[in-house]
Amino acid sequence: MSEGVSHAGALWDSVAFVPPVQRGKEEPVSDHQVTEVGQPEERVDVRLKGVRRTYGDVVAVADVDLDIRHNEFFTMLGPSGSGKTTMLRMIAGFEVPDRGTVEVAGRDVTTLPAYDRDVNTVFQDYALFPHMSVAENVEYGLRIAKVAKGERAERRDAALEMVRLSGYGGRKPTELSGGQRQRVALARAIVNRPRVLLLDEPLGALDLKLRQQLQIELKRIQREVGITFVYVTHDQEEALTMSDRIAVVNEGGIEQIGEPEAVYESPDNAFVAGFVGISNIVERPGGDFSIRPEKIRVLADGEGGEGLQVESGTIRQVSYAGMVTRFHVALDEGGEVQVARQNAETTSHEDEDLPGRQVRVGWRPEHAVAVGAQSGNETSTEEE
């Protein structure tokens, strides 16, 4: 990161956070912000309680309880149609739940219109005002909040600098690239210093390289501004990379909430195992177990495999993917697993004659995670 970035951060800090000017909606810290355990650092910025939303016969969100902590990067990860965007829209105020309550910073905002909530949204399609310049877009919220002209300009410039678009203020949104528009959308939201920033698949329309670059920037910006981010995505890698905690959403409910490591290493059930990363699910006495491909090793001939759970099987297929080579192994005890091997010291040529061969594979017993006895067909999701 360059000098300019840290400078931007410093400027932002000096301008943005002393003193925090709010839209007159901030409420004193209430007893809501102490969790059941009573840990004082667990301030809750967003709380959904028994929230339900249906569209006709379709249940988009089914009785969801959810606490999002102060200053965390919280991601709602799920397939399209899982209800994650509806949850976000209820926090933003674009949708009203059929029942349940939505709290922002301890205040019940369930029926409050969007313009009375201390949250801002970054939209998937950016939703930049086409008739305004970049600067006018960024200043919009401040203008509405009647922030004085001088401070407005200062905050606008700081926000534009933060997203590295200084000097672009005079352009129209149509004169920007997709990535630049996304940054303007971010600046326009963040300049208001909302309590919570909602991001609805903000990188969805961008190509992979740009997406990865902006993931890192978003994370940096979140740390710099210290605002709670609620991020919606269907991209598991994005979720794992950026989040402090992830809620895996499926069919209107939350399957699991936890830190990326927890969600990945110890999925609660087959859906989470399958949706977050590639997962092998094998049925063995005692239930279904999920084993990540990188946790399984193809044992060399004569290797003992001490401390490992060892099974034998037949290699069905070998696919070379550059960084790793994947082996599909049909286990003798039933089930087929994918084994990923880092190509640290090997080349693909050594594996060419492998299909059809009998091999032994092993994994550490703790890496076989029980995921209940449901569906055996959720072996994996397709990769990017």
């Binding site: 969007a114 313009y115 939209f123 399609d125 939703a127 005002f129 086409p130 919009y140 919220g141 939201a189």
Partner: protein, 284 residues
């Protein structure tokens, strides 16, 4: 699509003939307006500006002209408000009967004027029993003026992302502020275009006007129609017709250009302007 040389030439010829057929009569009216003879004879025997000064000093023509401006302005204003509201409802909300409403709003433009005229006349004079007046003409004109406003604005709304209004609300703007700062600027050219077309429609409307205007309310088309059959007024009628043509061309031309330039993003004038003008001369 490539046309054969013969088809191409034929289409060009026919298009040219059609345009000539439309515009030559207008040209003839122009020429007659400067004709020294009181009757329509061809070729005109001489050139004079006499009838222009007659027309300008003609009280009947002037009053009718002013009344038409007034009716057009009022009907257009009414149509702008109602047409915009209707298009917002249809484009932004889904509700029971939305398609029906959309259809019902558009229908009046397709109805024969004579039917609309008779129906409105019966409604005003018998059913409501309010008598015919300036008010009734304005309302009658608004029924079809709404359509052009509605069509223009609803088309713009469909292209405009609904997210913009959500984004505005998200940034703290009340619905009214959102309308003023986000919605209105983005539909402004559609409103102006729709309004100009609406004014054009109202300004030369005669059939519905005949049935809904009070006895004292003579709009310009009514005045022309009445005086057309009076031989001594004919030269003045020609002059008034020329003025009406000129006045009608302006709003239609402006509306055409506004909807072409889309939101005013493209620079007007220069090459763009010339292109629009060239298009405007051949496109309609």
């Amino acid at each position: 699509m490539r046309l054969s040389r013969r088809a191409d030439l034929m289409l060009r010829g026919l298009s040219g003939l059609t345009l000539l057929f439309i515009y030559i009569p207008l040209l003839i009216i122009f020429i007659y307006a400067f004709n020294t003879s009181r009757v329509l004879e061809w070729p005109p025997p001489g050139f004079t500006l006499q009838w222009f000064s007659d027309a300008i000093t003609n009280d009947g023509a002037r009053d009718a002209f002013l009344l038409s401006l007034k009716v057009g302005a009022l009907a257009t204003t009414l149509a702008l408000v109602l047409g915009t509201l209707a298009s917002m409802a249809v484009a932004r909300y889904s509700f029971f009967g939305r398609e029906t409403i959309s259809f019902l709003v558009i229908l009046p433009i397709a109805l024969p004027g004579i039917v609309t005229g008779v129906a409105l006349n019966a409604t005003f004079t018998e059913f409501l029993d309010i008598g015919l007046s300036l008010f009734t003409v304005v309302v009658a004109h608004a029924t079809f003026c709404i359509v052009v406003v509605y069509n223009n604005v609803v088309a713009r709304f469909r292209r405009l992302s609904g997210n913009l209004e959500e984004a505005s609300a998200d940034l703290g703007a009340t619905p009214w502020m959102t309308f003023r700062r986000v919605t209105l600027p983005n539909i402004r050219t559609a409103l102006v275009a729709g309004g100009l077309l609406a004014f054009g429609l109202s300004f030369d409307e005669i059939i519905v006007t005949t049935f809904t205007a009070g006895t004292g309310e003579q709009t310009l088309p009514l005045w022309i129609f009445q005086n057309f059959s009076r031989p001594n007024q004919l030269p003045v009628v020609n002059v008034v017709a020329v003025l009406v043509i000129l006045i009608s061309i302006i709003p239609v031309y402006l509306a055409h250009r506004l909807t072409r330039d889309e939101g005013g993003a493209a620079p007007t004038g220069g090459r763009e302007g010339v292109a629009a003008q060239a298009e405007g001369l051949t496109a309609p």
